[in-house]
């Protein structure tokens, strides 16, 4: 059996191993908790919050992978919105089943991503940001002006909820719990896809592209192909999230998908820590809950939120996920003394 190789930032998983045992246990416990959550609380507010958090984790996690490839993406809202509108139109106006529509919405978002990515991914940095952001605004403009199709500034009303499941027709989405489990399934699916992408060879090549794209191309890596594929998959997943959103809230408008949404996602990812997928999850949960806790305080809430972000960025640039490690460093320095040299022999 071959030894697993290791990447500097995370392990290339080739299968179960002893080190991941503890991680697996905690994941299982968390999963059990999430499954049981609706049984523990009947309060619709908590369920709604959980559902919203699931959605944002989905958005943030898919957004993160694009950031990790080194592209400053300011248009994530476009693909979420595209998925939402596409799905809404397909179900309300064309009579599709939700289950088909959500799948197609993801495909449509992915195709849009390929379309814009083909041009945008040739450039990086600010130019990429401008093009993606401009694309997002352009699409919003479309939603606002073509009222007959998209409903215009006042929005798109009367979006039906999901039709009952094929065999389990008791699950007819009349209760929030049904939506909860659907959202949970969706986010777990997305996290699984994103995790596998990053930890398979695909992810290794993405790392190579980020660390040295000229070099990667010189050994045969089709840089554009990988970038577009990543962009498409991430945007497709986000589009599916958007579709869920549309059929959960029954109403969408262009104001639901502004660049502000993307910037929030970016903050969740950066504060949580870009290194690892869990960073996106942690950052989203922490910042979202922080936002909710201070919901009644008007402007001070945003000040607190942005102030907190700045503090984290300055003091914990690796993000909250690295907090245990950072604290561990501080602790060991306190315990062992500043002149302790760990692992180094005599000078």
């Amino acid at each position: 059996m071959a030894e697993p190789g290791t990447m500097m930032k995370d392990s290339l998983d080739f299968g179960p191993g002893p080190a991941s045992g503890k991680k697996k246990w905690s994941a299982l416990v968390l999963f059990a908790f999430l499954l049981a959550f609706p049984l523990m609380t009947q309060d619709d507010y908590f369920l709604h919050t959980a559902i919203t958090i699931f959605l944002f984790v989905l958005y943030a996690a898919s957004y993160r992978l694009i950031l990790v490839t080194g592209q400053l993406h300011l248009g994530a809202n476009a693909f979420i919105g595209a998925g939402a509108y596409a799905s809404a139109i397909m179900v309300r106006d064309a009579g599709f089943s939700f289950w088909l529509a959500i799948f197609l919405a993801g495909i449509i978002a992915a195709i849009l991503a390929v379309g814009i990515g083909y041009f945008a991914l040739r450039v990086k940095g600010v130019y990429f940001a401008i093009i993606t952001w401009g694309f997002a605004e352009g699409i919003r403009f479309l939603y606002m002006r073509v009222e007959s199709v998209f409903g215009g500034p006042s929005g798109f009303f009367g979006i039906p909820g999901p039709d009952p499941l094929p065999f389990f027709s008791r699950i007819d989405f009349s209760e929030k719990t049904h939506y909860y489990y659907l959202a949970l399934a969706l986010v777990l699916f997305s996290l699984w896809v994103l995790y596998r992408m990053e930890h398979s060879r695909f992810g290794l090549i993405l790392d190579g592209i980020r660390e040295g794209d000229r070099l990667a191309a010189s050994v045969g890596v089709n840089i554009m192909g990988y970038k577009v594929a990543t962009f498409a998959v991430c945007s497709g997943l986000a589009g599916m999230g958007g579709s869920f959103y549309a059929h959960y809230t029954y109403f969408i408008s262009p104001n639901d998908f502004t660049v502000l949404l993307t910037i929030f996602l970016a903050l969740y990812v950066v504060v949580g820590g870009m290194e690892r997928l869990t960073g996106a999850v942690v950052g989203t949960v922490v910042l979202f809950i922080a936002g909710e806790l201070f919901a009644g305080y008007g402007f001070y809430r945003m000040m607190l939120f942005s102030g907190l972000t700045i503090v984290v960025l300055l003091l914990f640039p690796e993000g909250l996920v690295a907090l245990p490690k950072a604290l561990g460093r501080v602790w060991s320095r306190m315990v062992k003394g500043p002149r302790a040299r760990i692992g180094n022999g005599p000078a």
């Binding site: 450039v123 130019y127 401008i130 919003r140 910037i263 945003m302 300055l314």
Partner: protein
């Protein structure tokens, strides 16, 4: 479109363009020197407007004195921001970007808390207007355009004739050897922020006399500013000025034809299409 409406739209575009030019100038300076998109520029612009408002309207200070105090005050604020918030993370591009965005929100919301939601405006200094071919141009607007031109000229002289200005340019081209010429890199960055913030404040106080002042005005301003400098070619001052004028005209014509709410779309589409064709912007400046 009738001739006088056409002329009016052009004149409006000129005024808008002049103000955008000031904004873009500040942003270009910051981007050119430090390679950062300073999002909080918009908040400083907004603070400049409010500072002018409070000094002139609430304290009855002379307009010129108020302007001077505002420019210097906001300039120092920018310098402090650079020292405390930007310098620690200067090397991490994304961190700087997000610090700037968060700062923008922080300042904008503190603006809400401090200044209230109700829009405000400063009464104009110069009264009366000039009629050009059926369209009217107030002296106030002419003054704004002239002040913008003066600021551009002053900046140009600064960058080409003074030791500090040349030091800045040296730093933007080659940070390592620039230090050898005797001006510390840290000082260049702080100075850059001082001037850039001052320019933002200037744009803000000029707008205060022409349009209304709200805490959210910075948002639109900085987003447009970023669009402008990308269109013009990142880091290029002439490009920024040309792009500012172009977008000023597009906004003006957009407002005329489509209505004031729909100016975003055409401005964005223009920039996006232009950048797809020519990603390095009007002046074709390539920055790695």
């Amino acid at each position: 479109m009738t001739t006088d409406v056409f002329i009016q739209t052009i004149l409006n575009g000129l005024t808008i363009g002049a103000i955008y030019a000031l904004l873009a100038l500040g942003l270009t300076l910051l981007f050119g020197i430090m390679d950062i998109l300073f999002f909080a520029h918009g908040a400083l612009y907004m603070f400049g407007a409010y500072s002018a408002y409070y000094l002139v309207v609430s304290f009855g200070v002379n307009y010129v004195l108020a302007a001077a105090v505002t420019l210097v005050g906001i300039g120092f604020l920018g310098a402090i921001i650079e020292k405390v918030l930007i310098r620690p993370v200067r090397s991490e591009v994304m961190a700087v970007f997000f610090v700037a965005i968060s700062l923008n929100w922080f300042l904008e919301n503190s603006g809400f808390a401090l200044f209230g939601i109700k829009p405000k405006r400063i009464p104009p200094i110069f009264h009366g207007k000039v009629d050009i071919l059926g369209a009217s141009l107030t002296w106030e607007r002419i003054a704004v355009v002239l002040i913008s031109l003066a600021a551009v000229a002053a900046l140009h002289l600064f960058l080409t004739r003074t030791r500090w200005g040349l030091g800045m340019r040296a730093f933007s081209e080659d940070p390592e050897t620039a230090e050898l010429q005797g001006i510390s890199n840290d000082f260049v960055c702080t100075l850059g922020f001082f001037i850039g913030s001052g320019l933002a404040a200037l744009a803000g106080l000029l707008v205060a006399s022409l349009f209304i002042v709200t805490p959210t005005m910075g948002e639109h301003a900085v987003l447009t500013g970023i669009l402008i400098i990308a269109l013009g070619g990142l880091g290029s001052i002439p490009g920024a000025l040309i792009a500012a004028l172009i977008l000023g005209f597009i906004e003006s014509f957009g407002a005329s034809v489509l209505g004031a709410d729909y100016t975003w779309g055409p401005m964005f589409m223009f920039c996006v299409i232009f950048l797809i064709i020519r990603p390095t912007g009007i002046m074709g400046i390539e920055r790695s």
